[in-house]
Symmetry: C2
Subunit: 177 residues, 2 copies
């Protein structure tokens, strides 16, 4: 169960350095965040709630988890409260050993409930693809070692297929002393 071990390795507290690249404008964005990833119990009310809302109540699922983030951006102060703090519930549902879907209570490119397809590449990289209302996002996540994870993403417009932004995040595990 490749997704289970990936989720278990991801659990913990992380400091994330994120760089966003707006390709059309050659603009960089830099954000440092704290991210908490916690496994949830199978009967957690938040899990039940998301399964019901997405119509997957009768499906087998593996390790559900919650991601909480809290970020400081170098961008406009006014957007900070609404976008840079938040949390989302994730429920993986396997199709086979290396592919499946993720139910998400809140998406990455658009902050709405979403369902992502996932697959694992042959080196263990997790690739997540999500279609939102106006955008499509692809994220690839891989471990450099037990304590460092990388995430590269691209967001495209659905109408034009134009690439709106790429981004890269280096995540370092906060070690408890």
């Amino acid at each position: 169960m490749e997704i289970e071990s990936f989720v278990i390795k991801s659990e913990g507290d992380w400091i994330a350095m994120r760089s966003g690249h707006s390709l059309a404008f050659k603009q960089f964005e830099e954000v440092i965040s704290e991210i908490k990833i916690r496994l949830l119990k199978f009967d957690d009310y938040q899990v039940k709630d998301l399964l019901e809302k997405t119509g997957y109540s009768n499906s087998d699922f593996s390790k559900p988890f919650k991601i909480e983030w809290s970020a400081q951006s170098d961008w406009d102060q006014s957007t900070k409260d609404q976008e840079l703090h938040g949390c989302s519930i994730f429920i993986p549902i396997e199709q086979n050993n290396s592919t499946g879907i993720f139910l998400k209570s809140k998406g990455y490119a658009e902050k709405i409930q979403a369902i992502s397809d996932y697959l694992f590449l042959d080196d263990g990289t997790l690739v997540l693809s999500t279609v939102y209302e106006n955008m499509m996002a692809e994220e690839r996540i891989w471990f450099l070692n037990h304590n460092v994870r990388c995430r590269a993403s691209v967001v495209r417009s659905i109408d034009s297929n134009a690439i709106l932004q790429t981004s890269f995040t280096s995540e370092v595990r906060k070690l408890v002393s």
Copy 2:
């Protein structure tokens, strides 16, 4: 010949946005560069020279090419001339359809002649691994479409295996009007 089509797709002029993450210090580096990638003739003197210097004169090789870069960094002005402009010759030598080596006249993590191992992941991502004197570098390069390439890299210390820096580059092809 996966490497040949990758090199042919890469030929051209690119504008590159690069973000470097120094994990220990939580420091970001931002660089915008121009990159030119040009195929070389098999009998180009620069190709012959690199084959001789590396002891591969009798090997079959595929598409050799040259990368020239010219960058503007937000870092210390004094390092600019020595590191941010330069060129390197690359000669791919296939082992099988998806793995092989690259001879390089100048490396990425250390500016010395180097030999990299390469392999292709099942989604077409090229992964390059290079061992230098003091550091090891891994680069992964993939296309988002014909005109956008991404490169993610990690540099580790050989002694401690510590991760010194990660970086991510978004490369957009300059279209000739």
